[in-house]
């Protein structure tokens, strides 16, 4: 392999990491928050798809993509509140409800999304941060969407807030030990509903990125399971918001590997390279299974019990 080809691949992976990771960051952060409160919401794929549709529709009608982003967030709150409330009923399994909510979110999005497949809505503009670079591919890779930066800021704030604020402590305590939370006079159901709604908000914004930035259009095949992968990334990131960013970037870069290798002429075995993100996730999951990872899981999670 020539140095030039290697540079092309590395730049493509950098670009891929930045372009593809944003929805993963938002969904993974949303899931982290929800799981920290002791619930699993597997339905975030539904939030992602509904968010994508709502963002596109609102951006189309109002001409303001940022209004679309906000609306996508609130569509996520709606699904999150629904999940949170249903799971608060006695003997309801959060995983089963999550799967139901996923189908529901996707179904609602497809139903109302029909008229928005054809029209073109205003997109979120990217910031050309690569102006200094002479290499056009590098310039392109550094076209960074503001949502990517927002996602990283939210991750830092969430990481700090979970560790250092009263709200963060309440969420963690509810997630780790329901009796302890009750002893403190905290209503765990209320905390979990709010945490699921907030997590839903973030996942909805992840969807807005898909339809308004990259790949940047609404259609029914838009997500192809990214919301589900992001939920898996949370375990991989061990419920740590900062590690969520890392996991998402790694996943995005691995996803860019397949097309990038073919573009420099390494075209044998592209099915294998296209599967790189999943293979990578499997490897890291296996490598990460130790006593530490088990301890990182919130104690109230139904899968941890």
């Amino acid at each position: 392999m020539t140095a030039e080809a290697l540079t092309t691949i590395l730049i493509a992976m950098l670009g891929g990491a930045i372009r593809v990771s944003t929805p993963f960051i938002f969904v993974a952060l949303g899931e982290t928050l929800t799981e920290k409160s002791g619930r699993i919401n597997l339905g975030l794929e539904g939030n992602l798809v509904l968010g994508a549709m709502v963002a596109y529709a609102i951006s189309f009608h109002t001409g303001s993509p940022w209004l679309g982003v906000l609306a996508a967030g609130f569509s996520g709150v709606f699904l999150g509140l629904m999940h949170g409330s249903i799971c608060s009923l006695k003997k309801v399994n959060d995983i089963a409800v999550g799967i139901a909510m996923m189908s529901f979110g996707i179904g609602v999005a497809f139903f109302f999304g029909k008229p928005y497949i054809q029209p073109s809505a205003p997109r979120l503009e990217s910031l050309p941060l690569g102006g200094w670079a002479s290499n056009p591919a590098l310039q392109q890779a550094l076209e960074i969407n503001p949502l990517f930066i927002v996602g990283i800021l939210i991750a830092i704030v969430m990481w700090w807030a979970l560790a250092n604020t009263r709200v963060g402590l309440v969420v963690r305590m509810t997630g780790d030990s329901e009796p302890a939370a009750r002893a403190m006079g905290i209503n765990p159901i209320k905390v979990r509903i709010l945490a699921t709604a907030a997590g839903g908000f973030l996942a909805g914004i992840g969807g807005a990125f898909l339809s308004l930035s990259y790949p940047g259009s609404w259609n029914e095949g838009l997500s192809s399971g990214q919301g589900l992968m992001a939920v898996a990334l949370v375990i991989f990131a061990r419920w740590n918001p900062l590690r969520c960013i890392l996991a998402a970037l790694l996943f995005g870069a691995a996803g860019a590997l397949g097309p990038a290798l073919q573009s420099v002429g390494i075209s044998q075995g592209y099915y294998f390279f296209n599967a790189a993100p999943y293979i990578l996730t499997l490897f890291i999951m296996v490598a990460a299974t130790g006593s530490n990872s088990a301890r990182a899981a919130p104690g109230e999670l139904s899968i941890a019990k």
Binding site: I11, K114, Q118, S120, P215, N219, G255, A256, Q262, Y270
Partner: protein
């Protein structure tokens, strides 16, 4: 309880009348559907406004809707599972469909074969060259358009539009139809510009928007300045090309509106030619042919109206290529080697030669691999 007894007894009493009454609506239904003329039921695997394969079929059905005595029933997003059988059976039993059109590859076996055996009075046609006389029922059949002819025209226009001599192709899977489109783009481009190479990236599936966008970006980064594709919904590829400031050629349906600056032309089906022929023959009570295939010579494919990306030279050359195809000028002028150096076509083949249907190679000049 009392009402139940009464109704049961009354049915018993008026048994003969009851049966007559039950039988009565039947001729009415028959009569009604006969008055409606021909009923065509079409089943699509994806949304019918996907800017691609499904839209191409839906546009054709839309044209039929305005025809007198033709009723069109459609169902979209039907997966290649038992759902197909259910959709088609409901079209037959509830809507009285005379002809069922299955537009996705996986509908054929076993679903449409089983249904054709179960409903011998209904005609079934499937949009891929899979039917064979000795294996399949006589009320089933295939229809297909050789879209690679329109891709050849794309190639001609693209060959005169590229300055880097590299055309990028985002492809879904390495099946013969896709490979034939890639090879035809190359041959079209080389017919006017011998230095052109076609670089292909396979995404691995029919609809993966994020990976399609990644592939389009990777091709532009690799120096391609015209992009085209064969995926179910070309929207993402065309929009990404436009966003990167390179030109593009479409696939399946018109994507001209998506790329107001760089769209050259695109390969489109004219399913309406086949569908109107079917409707026409059914209305006259004629037997439908089992296999219908075609291309430019019988008006079954077309190229999208030229966009802003087409230069006058490209338009002139593409128009000439279309005229040639209508006269039957061959695309595969042999001998031709594949990109591994093997001789794959030892002589010139006619555009409809069955040898070309089994294509499993990329020609010399295509950068890419099918495995």
């Amino acid at each position: 309880m009392a009402t139940k007894q009464i109704s049961r007894r009354s049915i018993l009493k008026t048994g003969a009348a009851g049966i007559a009454a039950m039988a009565l609506p039947m001729p009415f239904i028959k009569a009604a559907s006969a008055a409606d003329g021909v009923v065509l039921g079409a089943v699509y695997v994806g949304p019918r406004d996907d800017f691609g394969w499904n839209q191409a079929h839906a546009v054709a059905m839309e044209i039929l809707k305005s025809t007198d005595n033709v009723t069109v029933i459609e169902e979209e997003n039907v997966p290649e599972t038992d759902s197909v059988s259910k959709s088609m059976e409901s079209m037959i039993n509830l809507d009285g469909a005379n002809l069922i059109l299955g537009t996705s590859f996986g509908y054929f076996e076993p679903f449409m074969i089983d249904l054709a055996n179960k409903y011998p009075d209904v005609q079934f046609r499937h949009a891929a060259p899979l039917w064979s006389e000795d294996k399949h029922p006589a009320n089933l059949g295939s229809y297909f358009c050789y879209l690679n002819q329109a891709h050849y025209v794309d190639g001609v226009a693209a060959g005169l539009s590229t300055t880097t001599n590299k055309i990028g192709f985002v492809a879904a899977k390495p099946i013969p139809t896709v490979l034939s489109n890639i090879n035809s783009v190359l041959l079209g481009a080389r017919s006017v510009n011998p230095n052109v190479e076609v670089q292909v990236i396979f995404t691995g599936d029919w609809s993966l928007p994020v990976r399609e966008a990644e592939a389009a970006n990777a091709l532009v980064d690799a120096g391609c300045d015209v992009l085209t594709c064969h995926v179910d919904g070309p929207k993402v590829v065309i929009e990404t090309a436009e966003g990167r400031g390179v030109k593009s050629c479409g696939h399946n349906a018109s994507q001209a509106a998506l790329a107001p600056k760089g769209f050259i032309t695109g390969a489109e089906y004219k399913w309406e030619t086949i569908y109107s022929m079917y409707a026409d023959m059914l209305a006259k009570g004629e037997t439908l042919p089992n296999v219908v295939v075609g291309g430019y010579h019988n008006d079954m494919v077309k190229n999208t109206a030229y966009g802003a990306g087409a230069t006058p030279e490209a338009i002139a050359a593409a128009d000439a290529a279309i005229a040639g195809l209508k006269e039957g000028k061959p695309i595969y002028v042999g001998p031709l080697k594949d990109n591994q150096g093997n001789l794959v076509l030892d002589k010139t083949f006619d555009n409809y030669d069955p040898v070309l249907d089994g294509m499993n190679y990329l020609l010399e000049g295509v950068i890419g691999s099918i495995t």
